[in-house]
């Protein structure tokens, strides 16, 4: 059952061969059995999940079911879910029970999906390995000595280990796509503004975007159908007509122009990854696509630009965690300033503090123009590079991450090396484009490689189409890690 895709489970629910309670129970027992091995979840609440499953079965019995009714979906612990502990991977929110639902949660609940639990993540989504979580690192199901990527590492590992048929994630600089790549699952970051950020705890507001994670492109489309949509409570949410993201899945992709950015295959990419991505490009050509070389000359600036803008926004977004109204407060302090200092010193981990410091610095008087303003200008130029490239192609492909999963602790002492693991994903966030990662092979150690597919604005349906057609021709996405059978 746990190897089944969401669309298969949905069909079985529709045919009354399975109930939501049975499916939910099955995944909950797998979580119970395997949670210590992978540490995917921060919170599991069987009673809450089963109550939702029973309600979903009732809906179905009444003939009011939708495609996702009864499907368990794991929620990244960055999404507020009413009555659920919502920690964002941080000690500072270690006691925060959300009093309201995020838009994404509200939509999935409204569609009858079951919250399977809250998944582990890098603290405040700041990390590329899931090692910055206050709740301990997540293990990569393909090799528990390696990281699952981050920040949506818990969601990615949960899908990879077959502990959840699908999950939500968020992606600020690659936080859906990079862990998807490192754990051999699929993940999609929509165009900025497609999924409401309401109730999604902010890291860097102008970059954050929620998206689905699952085993295959078709499942991503089903999840995105529910997660996307205008929300007046998010001023950056785009008021557009609802789309059916499955509508282009079956379309043949012969004749499609696939751009290969020269910069994606330059130094830094590991030979195993390059080989797998080359293989994927060959496969797409076999399906009738035409591959063209494109250039993204300023992509190399995306990491420094990102590490000015994202910390700047984060330094301000995280100011609300001050111990005054909710969350962690240092038990002992002498005065207000001491309370602030101790609360934040004890409540935040090292990586979060590093980024708050960087962000505070770049926004400071006298440095603002040199860092923040320049970074904003470069951000626009990076977006312009993509616009130029999309004149010559329909979609862009390349590696999602320069390497496969690295070992726990391997990069945690070297932030710059860690930051560079998002070198291929960050530019997409800076430009606000949709991007996704799908499995496209394995390295010599048997660790999965991810293929990144980047679309033009609002062309989620098109990249899903490419991914789906690729997955009809290949079976990388069907492989499960040993031990997760």
């Amino acid at each position: 059952m746990h190897d089944a895709t969401i669309s298969m489970l949905s069909r079985q629910l529709a045919e009354k061969r399975l109930s939501s309670v049975e499916i939910t129970q099955h995944f909950l027992s797998r979580i119970k059995a395997l949670s210590t091995r992978y540490n995917c979840f921060i919170t599991v609440d069987e009673e809450k999940s089963l109550a939702q499953a029973r309600a979903a079965d009732t809906l179905r019995a009444q003939g009011r079911a939708q495609p996702l009714t009864g499907i368990p979906v794991a929620q990244k612990d960055i999404f507020c879910a009413k009555g659920w502990l919502t920690t964002c991977g941080s000690r500072i929110l270690g006691n925060f029970v959300a009093p309201y639902d995020a838009h994404v949660v509200e939509r999935l609940n409204g569609a009858g999906a079951v919250i399977l639990g809250k998944t582990n993540m890098d603290e405040f989504a700041m990390g590329s390995s899931n090692e910055t979580s206050h709740y301990g690192p997540v293990r990569n199901p393909w090799d528990v000595q390696t990281v699952p990527g981050g920040s949506s590492g818990g969601s990615a590992a949960a899908v990879a280990a077959r502990l959840a048929p699908g999950a939500t994630g968020t992606d600020t600089g690659g936080s859906i796509r990079q862990p998807a790549a490192l754990t051999g699952v699929c993940g999609l970051k929509p165009t900025y503004g497609v999924v409401s950020r309401y109730g999604m705890i902010a890291f860097a507001s102008s970059l954050d975007q929620g998206g689905p994670m699952a085993k295959c492109a078709e499942d991503l489309a089903l999840l995105l159908n529910i997660m996307a949509g205008f929300d007046a409570r998010d001023s950056t949410s785009l008021e557009r007509e609802a789309e059916d993201y499955t509508r282009e899945l079956a379309r043949p992709i012969a004749g499609l122009r696939v751009g290969l950015p020269r910069e994606f295959f330059a130094e830094g990419v590991s030979p195993d990854v390059a080989r797998a991505v080359d293989g994927a490009a060959a496969e797409l050509r076999k399906l009738g696509c035409e591959t063209v070389e494109v250039e993204l000359p300023r992509m190399r600036l995306s990491v420094p630009v990102y590490y000015v803008l994202a910390p700047a926004e984060a330094s301000s977004n995280l100011a609300r965690y001050d111990g005054v109204r909710y969350g962690y407060r240092a038990p002992e302090f002498t005065d207000l300033m001491d309370m602030y200092k101790k609360t934040r010193a004890q409540g935040f981990g090292a990586e979060v503090k590093r980024r708050i410091l960087i962000g505070t610095y770049v926004l400071s008087h006298g440095y603002y123009d040199a860092y923040y303003i320049r970074a904003q200008k470069l951000r626009r130029l990076i977006a312009a590079d993509f616009a130029e490239a999309f004149k010559r192609c329909d979609v862009i492909i390349g590696p999602t991450s320069p390497t496969t999963a690295f070992r726990l602790g391997e990069k945690s002492g070297d932030p710059v090396q860690m930051y560079l693991s998002d070198i291929y994903t960050i530019a997409v966030n800076l430009a606000g484009l949709p991007g996704m990662s799908v499995p496209c092979g394995f390295d010599t150690k048997g660790l999965p490689v991810g293929l990144q597919i980047i679309g033009n604005y609002f062309r989620e349906a098109q990249i899903l189409n490419v991914a789906h057609q690729y997955q009809l021709a290949t079976d990388w996405h069907l492989r499960a890690p040993a031990g997760a059978e």
């Binding site: 999404f79 507020c80 919502t86 964002c88 929110l93 925060f96 959300a98 009093p99 309201y100 995020a102 950020r197 309401y198 109730g199 999604m200 705890i201 902010a202 860097a204 507001s205 102008s206 007046a232 409570r233 998010d234 001023s235 950056t236 700047a312 926004e313 330094s315 301000s316 995280l318 100011a319 609300r320 001050d322 005054v324 109204r325 909710y326 207000l336 602030y340 505070t360 926004l363 400071s364 008087h365 603002y368 923040y372």
Partner: protein, 478 residues
């Protein structure tokens, strides 16, 4: 040395919207602590601001009223600092590009009209309140006010005295109420002033070092604080010292300003555009809609009062201090000529205002309606009532005895203007006071006054004094 005072004001006007600037919570004053603070106001994780367009419309109203430039695109920025009553750790404000730039406000000081230029007006959110009482050793936080929309209206340093500053503050206070964007309640903090005060030797152009004075929640405090501060700065300079740039707090109890913080410990607010809010776009059409709904503005009305009713600049200014008083005057003076209008102006600014003040009423709550006051004035014009009698009738009307006609009918309070009746009374007085008549004819003016007094006594004060004078003079001459 002679010193010149230079003052600029920053006014925070609370915009009278029903809900907050970035959330749907109510802005009503006086609710139990934290009952009007929703998730956005409390800054829960994950919440986002959504701009209240009504607050923007009110800012546009001010922009139009002062003839300022309404920016078609303005930007909300975050002003970052930690304070317990600032839930997000930043205040959303407008920094580099405010919604309104420029504009002017004219003020009247000692009979002379002066123009104060505005620098800008920008939208921002208010903070909550720290409550230091009742929490032994701790501080309570009330977030009801957090997120209340404010329009910060900044003037150029165009004022030269405390009187200028008060006149400007009053004019602005009148204007924001006139165009219905702020209730102007200073006790509740709906209209708050900060004053930037500096002095410089007369004849120099360079501005002196300024002090920003906070906590001026009445016009009187504004006046006292500026006066104190000017004295303080002049004393420092005359003693050879230097004024420090700082923020000072006015203490009404001691009637002095004292240092709150100096420039050295000023915050670095790390302003940057708020990524949660798109730049605010104001369309031509929106401005036209707001313009169409705007009432006649005080300045236009003032001009019209002078033109149509022949009022003096002073009277026109008094009668346009607020929309209610102007409406009242217009209703009373409907169709009036200059003479009647002058009477209306005098009665409204005089007796009526005095009575309203005594009872703490607004003019809209007056016990005498504008048409009723006009009825009284008409009786003065047609000679039925003398000024003295009119005041008595006014008092009766105020007490609820009906309109002027009813009071006159009921009490007989009316002038004897019937010359036949007066002549016979005067004949009797002349006949009974031969000595005074002789004295008068012998050139003693005093004797005439005595005769007038006798007539007034005989008529119980109801005789028309001019008429009595004229008849007496004629008869004594004859």
């Amino acid at each position: 040395m002679k010193w010149e005072t230079v003052i600029g004001l920053e006014v925070h006007a609370q915009l009278s919207t029903r809900s907050k600037i970035f959330s749907a919570a109510s802005t009503a004053f006086g609710a139990a602590p934290n009952t009007q603070a929703c998730g956005v106001d409390v800054a829960l994780p994950g919440v986002l601001p959504v701009l209240n367009r009504e607050a923007v419309a009110k800012a546009i109203r001010l922009g139009l009223a002062v003839g300022g430039k309404i920016n078609r695109r303005s930007v909300f920025a975050r002003k970052n600092y930690f304070y317990p009553d600032l839930p997000k750790g930043y205040q959303i404000s407008q920094y580099e590009i405010p919604i309104i730039e420029g504009g002017t406000l004219s003020i009247l000081v000692d009979g002379a009209e002066k123009t104060v230029r505005l620098t800008r007006a920008h939208l921002e959110e208010d903070a909550g309140k720290s409550l230091h009482e009742d929490f032994h050793g701790s501080t309570g936080i009330d977030l009801n006010r957090a997120g209340t929309p404010l329009l910060e209206i900044v003037s150029e340093p165009d004022m030269r005295s405390a009187a200028d500053a008060v006149a400007y503050a009053k004019a602005l206070h009148g204007l924001v109420r006139w165009i219905d964007i702020c209730d102007g309640n200073m006790q509740e903090g709906s209209f708050r002033c900060d004053a930037n005060v500096s002095v410089r030797p007369v004849g120099t152009d360079r501005l002196g070092t300024r002090a920003e004075i906070k906590n001026l929640n009445s016009f009187r405090f504004l006046e006292r604080a500026v006066e104190f501060e000017v004295r303080r700065q002049i004393e420092i300079l005359e003693d050879g010292g230097r004024v420090v740039q700082e923020t000072r707090l006015y203490d009404p109890g001691r009637d002095e300003t004292r240092s709150l913080r100096t420039k050295e410990d000023a915050h670095d607010y790390r302003y940057f555009p708020d990524p949660d809010l798109l730049p605010l776009a104001v369309s031509e059409r929106w401005i036209e809609e707001v313009k169409a709904a705007l009432p006649e503005l005080p300045q236009a009305k003032r001009g019209r009062f002078i033109r149509d009713f022949g009022l003096s600049v002073y009277d026109a200014a008094v009668l346009t201090a607020g929309r209610e008083i102007a409406d009242y005057f217009e209703a009373a003076a409907r169709g009036a000529d200059a003479k009647v209008a002058k009477h209306c102006a005098n009665w409204i600014a005089g007796n009526l205002s005095a009575r309203l003040n005594e009872e703490g009423l607004d003019i809209a709550q007056s016990r005498i309606s504008a048409p009723a006051l006009r009825g009284l004035i008409d009786r003065i014009i047609d000679g039925t009532l003398s000024g003295k009698l009119a005041r008595e009738v006014f008092d009766a009307m105020w007490a609820g005895d009906g309109d002027a006609a009813a009071v006159i009918a009921a009490t007989g309070l009316k002038q004897i203007s019937d010359s036949g009746e007066l002549e016979s009374i005067i004949d009797e007085i002349i006949a009974a006071n031969t000595r005074q008549v002789e004295d008068y004819r012998a050139g003693k003016e005093k004797a005439f006054n005595s005769l007038v007094g006798q007539v007034m006594k005989a008529t119980k004060g109801k005789a028309n004094p001019q008429q009595v004078n004229a008849i007496l003079k004629r008869k004594l001459a004859g």
